[in-house]
Amino acid sequence: MEFSRREALAMGLGAAMVTVLPFRVNAAADDRIAAFTGGADIAEGGVTLTAPEIAENGNTVPVSVAAEGATAIMVLATGNPTPGVATFNFGPGAAAQSASTRIRLAGTQDVVAIAKLADGSFAKASATVKVTIGGCGG
């Protein structure tokens, strides 16, 4: 028999990942946001978040953030069991307030970036990154 156990297993892993979709912003993510902002209002805009629409590999998804004049930018993977990814702090000597990293996503979810601006206000951007088993493009 030419039964491919390996393939069944590989696809099975993909299945475990996608059956619980889509994730919503969970309580843990809300807690992280509250801790970062101290409960202050968060404006939309002023933050650039660059992430792929569909992840090529959910285990290593490149994301970039930038916010002019920011003193810190926090990145959250809102659907991960542990949503906190990173907080980038920018000192007064920083030439640009931007950073890039790679993150692991447990499934299709929103990635959120929240920037603390120089005047103490907060701004955010979010992007939906889809994690798919793929395979039928034509």
Binding site: M11, N57, P62, C136, G137, G138
Partner: protein, 565 residues
């Protein structure tokens, strides 16, 4: 500004042909008499720049039949808009007469009888004649290949794309972008691209490790034409490592990267571009969305989703041109560019009627030479068909019904799955099925036909996942294929629902019972993107099946119920 007239000339000539179908020899003669090469090529030169666009040829060196889809549903804001209209709605939208050559070229109805009347379409030797005629009219016309060229046939597979490279080089393109080419594996792609006598473009082709633009593929190229600077930016298929096996080209990363596209447009404008053209393999709806987000693109030459549109679609100030697939069409776009601005555009989608357009002798000889070593293999007759065999359509096509039948029977499976690709020519009733015909709808570098056990729950996950890749209302989350074809199982799909809620009423056809989420079923399929997939090659499975059948006769497939269309 957009010339409707140029195209309508073709359909006007057609009206005399109504009723001619069904009388094969007489009708074909009539087609030749009423439709001439001059007529197809007729074009009043316009402005100072000409672009020629061909795309998604999928290895088809010779003329073929190609039936356009009857079902091509749009979702979200694209519902009911081109290219998501078919048949009579399509003909009405463009004023095309029923039964005309244009109706035959662009719509599906009455395909088998019109095919007998109007003959085959395509062939790179005929395309060469058209391209040469345009160049005779405008010697510095630019020729662009939108990709999916080095894939899709017996000879292409056995030469690892070299047959297409050799013949296309004779057509002298100025630039190309990519999709299925990468399924040759990165080593082979790099080898070919390093030797290409024209630009290999893709602003979204990145080095996977460093997340920086890949060195081998430039984002854009400048051309000086008609006293203007023309910048052509490449856009490769964004979802290659997802829709195709990423392990075959692990060094590369893609994505839409529209922020980088904007940066490239700004860069070429700053460098003095008078005209900005994007040579795209995004797919039509993705191109439409991108045209609305990225400012400063004049023309998008759109490929991937195999749509053929007789007029450009205008989004803001961006004209999107869709030029079909499988060698069936050549688009000519004439532009008037003055003072750093696009002042006007004239366009014609030229159908490559192979009985009307004379083959270019030089290219015909090249094609012959590429095929000669494989002639016996290509021409071996495996069986016949009584049924029109086609692939295009969102949910099923008869070719895939046949392939699924082959998988069910040859691999002794409960359920069969066939990928929702859009390439593959058609055969009309009465045709022989040769080995070449089978390879035209199956050949690829990962054609292993797996046999595996899957739970009912997992089968639903697959269907939901693929459905979202087609029916997600945001085009940026679509991959541009059709729904995975399923044999041995029926289901209902509501395309308006979110992922996880579209698929219901999954039924095992042989027992009539509902699919049990907890139960395991034997599933046979092919074209898995997973590394290490084992099984016989799909073309051998299909060949064995057809040999046993002798003559293929398929019943209409009613196993997929569609809601929300």
């Amino acid at each position: 500004m957009i010339s409707r007239r140029d195209f309508l000339q073709v359909s006007m000539a057609a009206s005399a042909m109504v009723g001619a179908s069904g009388f094969a020899n007489w009708a074909r003669l009539a087609a030749q008499q009423s439709l001439t090469q001059d007529q197809l090529l007729q074009f009043d030169s316009f402005g100072n720049i000409s672009l020629i666009h061909v795309t998604d040829i999928h290895g088809q060196l010779n003329p073929i039949h190609f039936r356009e889809p009857s079902v091509n549903l749009g979702v979200g804001t694209n519902k009911g808009h081109v290219p998501h209209i078919t048949g009579a709605d399509f003909r009405k939208a463009y004023g095309i007469a029923d039964g005309s050559p244009t109706a035959y070229a662009l719509t599906y109805d009455d395909f088998a009888s019109l095919a007998k009347g109007y003959g085959r379409v395509g062939g790179l030797d005929r395309m060469a004649t058209i391209i040469n005629a345009i160049r005779a009219d405008r010697p510095d016309a630019l020729l662009f290949d939108g990709g999916d060229t080095w894939h899709g046939s017996y000879t292409c597979h056995h030469t690892a794309g070299q047959d297409m490279v050799n013949v296309m080089n004779a057509l002298k393109p100025d630039a190309m972008t990519f999709h299925w080419e990468f399924t040759l594996g990165s080593e082979r792609v790099n080898e070919i691209v390093e030797g290409l006598p024209f630009a290999a473009l893709g602003q979204n082709i990145f080095d996977a490790e460093w997340d920086e633009p890949a060195e081998l593929f430039k984002p854009y190229k400048f051309f000086e034409r008609g006293g203007a600077k023309v910048a052509v930016i490449g856009q490769a298929f964004p979802y290659m490592p997802i829709a195709n096996p990423g392990w075959m080209f692990p060094e590369y990363s893609f994505g839409i990267r529209d922020e980088n596209m904007q940066a490239m447009v700004d860069e070429v404008r700053a460098a003095g571009a008078d005209l900005v053209v994007v040579l795209s393999h995004n797919g039509f709806d993705v191109d439409k969305k991108m045209a609305g987000k990225v400012q400063g693109i004049d023309v998008i030459l759109s490929g991937h989703t195999h749509d053929a549109l007789p007029e450009p679609v205008l989004v803001g100030k961006t004209h999107i041109i869709a030029s079909g697939s499988n060698g069936k069409f050549v688009s000519r776009v004439d532009l008037d560019v003055r003072d750093g601005q696009l002042m006007g555009l004239r366009h014609k989608l030229i159908p490559v009627f192979s009985d009307v357009i004379a083959p270019d002798p030089v290219v015909a000889q090249l094609i012959e030479a590429e095929r000669a070593p494989y002639k016996t293999q290509l021409e071996e007759v495996i069986g016949q068909t009584d049924t029109l065999l086609y692939r295009r359509g969102n949910f099923n096509g008869t070719w895939d019904d046949l392939i699924c039948d082959a998988l069910l029977s040859e691999r002794e499976a409960d359920i069969a799955m066939s990928p929702g690709v859009r390439w593959g020519p058609s055969l009309v009733p009465g045709d022989d099925i040769t080995r070449e015909d089978i390879w035209n709808v199956t050949s690829m570098s990962y054609g292993q036909a797996y046999r595996s056990e899957m739970t009912g729950e997992f089968i639903k996950v697959i269907l939901e996942d693929v459905a979202d890749n087609i029916f997600n209302p945001d085009p940026y989350y679509q991959q541009g294929g059709d729904m995975v074809r399923v044999g041995g199982m029926g289901y209902r799909i509501d395309i308006t629902k979110p992922q996880g809620e579209r698929i219901s009423e999954m039924t095992l056809l042989k027992s009539g019972e509902a699919i049990d989420p907890a139960k395991s079923y034997v599933v046979a399929g092919w074209a898995s993107v997973n590394e290490g997939t084992e099984g016989p090659m799909i073309w051998d499975v299909v060949e064995d099946h057809i040999r046993k059948l002798g003559t293929v006769t398929l019943n209409p497939n009613t196993s997929v119920q569609v809601a929300g269309a």
